[in-house]
Each structure stands twice: as C-alpha cells, then as structure tokens.
C-alpha cells in the first residue's frame, strides 16, 4: 500500500487512536453482541463492546467484557418483564451510570431489539446520552414478528420513532423480513441468527473500513459525511458470495437483499457508503464492477464513500455492505385528494419530521380528515401520523394509504410475512 493518503491516515491513527464502542441494550441487543464475531484484523482493542440490561442474570452469563445492570432499585435485577414503564424508569434512574459507560467516543453503535421492556425504553435514553457527546451514533434495531402481537409492535414503533430523532443512522431490521432469509425449513430462531449476522456484517464493515489498512481506506470523517444529520431514513443492505464468479453472485445477493425490498424504498440516496471485503484476489477491476453497479442501482447523486478491505483468509469470496441516507429536502406539495377538505400539514421543523416525510421522495401529505376528528392538529395527532411511518415500510404499494387493520393485523402487509411463511426465492 504505497498510497500516500493511506500513510497519512495511518499516521493520524497512530497519534490518536479512534475510539469505537458497540453497546447492546436489553436482552436481544446483548444476545446479538454475544454472537458477534469481531473481525480480528480490524484492530481489536480499539473496539470496545459493552452491554446494558435490567436482567442481571442474563448479563452475567454474557461474555461481553463491559456490563451495566440498570434499574436495580426498580427491578431488583430481574428484568423489565416486557413492561415499557419499568424499562424507562430503570434507564432514567441510572442515567449517570449510562453516561459513564458511553464515555467520550468517536463512534458509538447501538444494538437493540425493540418490542420488549428494556430495549425499547432504555435504548432511547442511551441514545440521548450519546447524542450529548461528540460521537457519531448509529443504531441497529430489530423489530418484532407480526405474530408477537400488536402490543409489542406498538412498543417497537414508538421506540423507533424516538430513536430516529436521536441517532445519526438508524437501521431497522424487521424480523418478519429477516425470516425470509436462509433455508426454507428454518425456524423463527433463524431470523434471530440472520439479524445477528447482518448486524455483525454492518459492524465489521464499518470497523474494518475505519481501522484496517485496505485497498481503499476511509476515516471517521467520511463516515460522518454519510451520516451528517440526525433522523432520516437509513438504507442498509449486504450481499455475500463465494465460489465461481463470486463478484456477480455477491452483487445479485445484494440486489435481492430483503431490506432493500420493504416496499417503496427511496430509489435515490444522497450519500452512500459501500464497503467490500474480499481476499487478495480482489483486484481493482472487480472493485470497479461493484462500484459501477452500486452507484447505478442507488442512483447516487453525490459521491460514494467507498472502502475495500483485504482479508487474506477470504480469497474467493466477497462481502458487500451498503449504507446510505435518503435525501432530506422537501418538494412542492401535490394536490390533496379533497381540495376543500380541512387538512393540516404537520409543522415539520418543530417536530423534526423533515427527514421522515422526505424519506420516500414524496412531499408531505395532508393528514386525512379521519385523523382530525378530535380537534385540530393536536400534537397527539401529528405524533400518530409520524409513528405510522415505520409500519408503512412493509406495506409496499399501500404505503401511502390508510392502514387496513383487521383483528389487529394490517392487511396491507403481505400475508405470508404476517404468518411467518418462508418463501425460498432462489432456485
């Protein structure tokens, strides 16, 4: 690596090592980190791993080095039992301890499973604490299965709404969608394994790109350029392949990554970060092939932040990881469906909703009058509208329409997903 930029980056790293902390919050978040295999080449020692939970027993069984039990006074270390209020109180009570654990980092990656008590409530407290520091904060959040019921789903929706405002990049991983990955006869546990694998892939891509000497190196400032603003829609996708023609195969995998197909994803991303990890046989021609396809697929308007990492043990295979933020400018409102109807557009700036509304490249929609029945534009009404956004992600074509609830299930979400029927799409 005789690239002068690389040596500069190395020098910079040598004088002031980059501080990265990965924090698992709640039971599911901790479990995900238990299974995380950090790439040993990406500077072990610089990446700290920590876990926060209300359940002292679960935490003591974890092999994560740094652990924090919160809310002992509330739960006596027994967990939040799925109760949001308990999780919230536990986190609020131990805010100082959380601040101590968060510390002063360059990059913080939160991993949380939403829908339960601790993760859903404490994650936003941790994010809030982290937001007060200089750190760049990213979060991976799994969302419960539809068959777990509406209550957990509602909790997760609320949690994701809060988190999104606090972190620079939020990557939601719906379990319904994750179940679709892997073998046809696999079970619900498989979805957890897929979530863990993807979270691991995302974390490793970021860390390797920042810390490891590669074909193309990136530093924390390029990562910051992708995740400049808080809020907004983050896109995350991975593709992995090995064997013959692994470049095309990995690209195919990337393009059918289910996270890219949860309905009407933005076709255009402002800034994207692409990291590829391959063996010593990964030449510049293959790298170019990946770059051109990825920029074409995401129609990236600005430059791509591109990293390529060489791992000698990975010859004959390729892993591609794409992360990006959707544009956040609003456009001219289209004609509302009922011109004379009483409509209200949520005051965007006040609620910090610009990013939410613009995530689908469509202008703000008037609030349907059915939602205004109980008075004009009360804050609750606007909040409700906002919380629907994440649920909409799985509704595809019906994303913009009124939700379609029947016995607590949204009929616009594909039946096979709600019922956990696995679809094998590879021949």
């Amino acid at each position: 690596m005789n690239n002068p930029n690389d040596s500069l980056a190395l020098e910079h790293n040598a004088t002031e090592p980059l501080k990265i902390k990965i924090i698992g919050v709640g039971g599911a978040g901790t479990n995900a980190l238990n299974n995380l295999e950090l790439n040993p080449l990406c500077g072990v020692g610089q990446v700290q791993v920590a876990a926060i939970n209300t359940d002292a027993k679960a935490l003591s069984e974890s092999r994560i080095p740094e652990k924090l039990v919160i809310g002992r006074s509330v739960t006596r270390g027994l967990g939040a039992g799925g109760e949001l209020e308990i999780g919230k109180k536990a986190a609020e009570d131990d805010r100082e301890a959380i601040a101590g654990l968060v510390g002063e980092m360059d990059l913080i990656i939160l991993v949380v499973g939403l829908g339960g008590g601790t993760g859903s409530a404490a994650a936003s407290v941790v994010a809030e604490v982290a937001a007060r520091t200089e750190a760049l904060v990213l979060a991976f959040a799994t969302l419960p299965f539809s068959f777990e019921g509406k209550r957990r789903k509602d909790i997760a929706e609320a949690g994701i709404g809060e988190l999104r405002q606090l972190v620079h990049g939020l990557i939601p991983l719906p379990n319904d969608v994750l179940l679709q990955e892997g073998e046809e006869d696999s079970t619900v546990l498989n979805a957890f394994a897929v979530a863990d694998r993807w979270i691991g892939c995302g974390i490793n891509s970021i860390c390797a790109m920042l810390l490891k000497t590669g074909l193309i190196n990136q530093d924390i400032s390029s990562l910051r350029s992708v995740f400049q603003d808080r809020g907004g829609r983050t896109i995350f996708a991975t593709g992995f392949a090995s064997g013959e023609d692994y470049v095309s195969a990995a690209l195919d995998e990337l393009l059918i990554c289910p996270l890219l197909h949860m309905g009407d994803r933005p076709a255009q991303l402002d800034r994207i970060l692409v990291n590829i990890t391959g063996g010593t046989d990964l030449g510049i021609a293959k790298v170019n092939q990946v770059i051109s396809l990825v920029s074409q697929r995401f129609n990236s308007r600005e430059d791509i932040v591109f990293g390529a990492v060489i791992d000698e043990s990975r010859s004959g295979m390729l892993e591609i990881c794409v992360m990006g933020k959707a544009g956040i400018e609003a456009r001219q409102p289209i004609r509302p469906a009922v011109p004379t109807a009483k409509t209200s557009v949520a005051p965007l700036g006040k609620l910090g909703l610009e990013a939410e509304i613009a995530q689908d490249d469509r202008p703000p929609q008037p609030v349907h009058r059915s939602k205004l029945r109980h008075g004009d534009a009360s804050p609750e009404v606007e909040q409700e509208e906002f919380l629907f956004v994440e649920a909409n992600a799985q509704r595809g074509y019906f994303e913009k329409t009124d939700s379609n609830f029947y016995n607590g299930e949204d009929l616009d979400v594909p039946t096979f997903m709600r019922r956990g029927i696995k679809i094998k799409i590879k021949t």
Binding site: D252, A337, P339, Y397, L411, P414, F416, K426
Partner: protein, 409 residues
C-alpha cells in the same frame, strides 16, 4: 312516441373504470349502447385517493363510452365500495293496531320505520335499507298484509358509508357536470345480475374480487341478508409477490397472470419459472432470474385464503355461515376471479362449491367479462328500480336525501 333516457353505469374501481351506457325505452326495455373500460388512477382499495387524477381517468372513460354510443348520458348510476362501508341487521317491531288483529298498511309502515330509525354517527350515512322477510307472531312471512296476528316484525340489512368517501366519488361525477341518480354498493349490483332467482332462493354467496377490494353479498331465501367488503384485492396479491420475490410491481403482475395459482401444491417445488424469459439480458440486472413456482403459489395462497377466511369469519360472526343455507355455493366474479385455481381455494377455506361466473347470459358476449358485472348490475337497477321485491334498492326519497347530504358546492 316512445320515451327514452340514457343511463350511464359507472364503476370507479381500483384498477379499472368501467362505463356502460344503457338506453331505457319507456321504462321497460334496456339496450346497452356503449361501453368503455380503462385503467383507473388515483383510486386505492376502492376509494378515491387523489381526486384530480381519478376525475381525469373517469371523465376520459365516460367520454369514450359516450363517443362509442354516439349519445349523451342523462343520469348516472354509480357503484360504491371500500372498507368504510359497513352494515347492520336491524329488526323493527310493531303491535298490530286494528281491533280485529288484521295487519294493515299502517302496521307494515310502522314496522319498517321502526327498523330504519337507528341513528348513525354524524360522519356516516345510510346507502341502502334492504328488506328481509316479515315475521308475524314469530312466523316468517313475505307479505303480511291482511293476515291475522298480534306482533309484526321486519328485518332490514342496512348498509352505511362514510359520508366523505361517498362525497369524493360524487365529486368525480359532478366534475363532468353529470348528476348521480343512485349509488349502489358493488356487491349488490354484481349479485343482482349474476344469480338466477332460483339461486337467490336456495342461497348463494357472490364474491367480487377486484383490484383493491373484495365485495361479497349473501342471498338466503331470496333475500340479501348480508353484504361486506374486505379491503383486499388483486393489488395485494401483486404487492405481496413484489415484496416476496423482490421484483418490480409490473413484473409481479405479470407473474401473477402467467404463473399464478390460488393454492400451493407440492409439485410446485420442482418447477422453476423465468421472469422475463429473455436470456440476452445482462447478468448484472435482476432481469433474468429464475424463480421457484412454489414461491409464487405460496405467496398467493396465503393471501387468497386469507380473503376467504375473513369472509368466513364475518359470516360466522353474523351466524350466517350455514352451508345448507348456501346451497348454490359461491359465485366468483371481478378481475381477480380469473386467477387460476381460485375455486379450489374457496372449497378449501369455505367448504362450499364454487364457480367463476361466466357473466349474465342475456348480454352480448363481450360484456360477460367479470369486470362488467357490477356495471351491468347498476343498469339492472336503473331499469327495475324499486319494483324488485327481493333486492329492494333505495327508494327515491332516500336518494334525494343523499343528494342533499352531499350537496356542498
């Protein structure tokens, strides 16, 4: 001189706008003199979603039908669907007033009014009051006039709608300077023309699976006893395929039409189908993937069986799911009834015999397509009006009420 008027039957569907022009001569004969079917825009799940866009496509369809017929529409009969439609069964009761316990016209009127007086929330309005049989001291009776008894009861299946949704549909028609004479819900319109009187008598369920909604009507003993709308249709099948197979909605639609089947069978596991069938496509696009047929049929099976499960549940909740009383089984219509294997799905879920309607026999072959059945039903009502005992469309005074209700211009 014979007197004629031209009725436009308009169905603003989720995927198609259907317009039929019928010339009614002397209030007796009906000639269908023009028709058009075109893609619908700005309509989702049976409800106008974007008024401007929807108006443009409906106006174009009306003008095409008028041009086709070389005639102008005098009045419009409009179909209505959407999940905002809802219904309830209400029973009206009165004591027979005469000293001799003989039922008079007044008693019948009293019982009917009693059934219809249930108030709705301010944002809803009745579309239909559909009369069911009378009962005189507990005995079922079609016409109680001059019969002897003490207590007279009559049941009504009453359908109501969200006023704002209906007014959006009315606005679309008003926008082209036409007046809506009557609004009839899609299921009732379809049912009227697809069933023979004998089938209505023995009991039959008509299920109209459209693009965005599935409308059904249940006939028992010659009466409409229940109607319903499941806000799920062919668009949902396409969307499910698009998400599940990770392909564009256009390609998903194509898959549904060419390879779709309403149920999964184990043989599907061995079969693969091509998305484009064009091997010249670059291998870096998703254009030339091969897909297991099982993926397609499993996705569709989940969705289609859910539609019938919801209908079954709604009939069970109303205590109307008694296969013996639905002796003529299920008659399927609507664009999505063309899906391969749909009858089998009905048999598996509802346990009833099913057939896909091949349209009313007394119309020209090109109008027997399932997409026309609702509009044909509208014309049927335009001709027969309220004389039809069994189906009992809303009387005219009620229509004036609607017209007033939605008259905000």
């Amino acid at each position: 001189m014979s007197e004629s008027r031209v009725v436009g039957a308009v169905e603003i569907g989720t995927s198609k706008v259907v317009v039929l022009l019928g010339e009614i001569i002397d209030g007796e004969g009906l000639n269908i003199i023009g028709h058009s079917m075109s893609s619908s825009y700005g309509v989702k799940k049976g409800v106008v979603d974007d008024l401007g866009v929807a108006s443009d496509s409906v106006h174009a369809a009306i003008m095409e039908a008028e041009k086709n017929a070389q005639s102008r529409i005098d009045e419009v009969y409009l179909a209505q669907t959407g999940s905002h439609l809802s219904g309830s069964f209400n029973v009206g009761t009165t004591s027979v007033s005469g000293p001799d316990n003989i039922v008079s016209e007044t008693d019948i009127f009293q019982a009917k009014e009693d059934a219809k007086r249930r108030q709705l929330p301010a944002d809803r309005a009745y579309l239909h009051h559909i009369q069911n049989p009378f009962s005189l001291d507990g005995r079922k009776i079609d016409n109680p006039l001059s019969r002897e008894g003490r207590q007279l009861q009559v049941g009504y299946w009453s359908v109501h709608a969200e006023s704002s949704k209906v007014s959006d549909s009315l606005r679309v028609i008003r926008g082209i300077d036409l007046e809506v004479t009557d609004i009839i819900i899609s299921s009732i319109a379809s049912g009227a023309v697809l069933l023979e009187d004998s089938e209505k008598e023995s009991g039959a369920l008509v299920v109209d699976i459209g693009g965005g909604t599935t409308d059904y009507v249940l006939y028992r003993g010659g009466y409409i006893v229940k109607t319903g709308v499941v806000p799920v249709g062919g668009d949902h099948i396409t969307n499910d395929l698009s998400i599940g197979l990770r392909i564009s909605p256009g390609k998903a639609e194509k898959f549904k039409r060419i390879h779709g089947r309403a149920y999964y069978e184990s043989g599907d596991r061995e079969k693969n189908v091509w998305l484009t069938g064009d091997p010249s496509t670059s291998d870096l696009t998703i254009g030339d993937r091969e897909y297991p047929l099982a993926a397609i049929t499993k996705i569709i099976e989940a969705r289609v069986s859910e539609i019938f499960e919801i209908i079954k549940k709604e009939l069970e909740d109303a205590e109307l799911y008694q296969p013996d009383d639905i002796a003529c089984g299920v008659v399927l219509t609507g664009g999505s009834s063309q899906l391969n294997g749909i009858e089998e799905s009905v048999r598996r879920v509802l346990g009833l015999e099913a057939r896909v309607s091949d349209g009313p026999r007394d119309v020209a072959p090109e109008l027997r397509h399932p997409a026309y059945s609702t509009a044909l039903g509208l014309l049927h009502y335009a001709l027969t009006g309220q004389e039809d005992r069994e189906t009992n469309p809303p009387p005219n005074r009620f229509l004036r009420k609607i017209a007033r209700l939605f008259n905000f211009d």
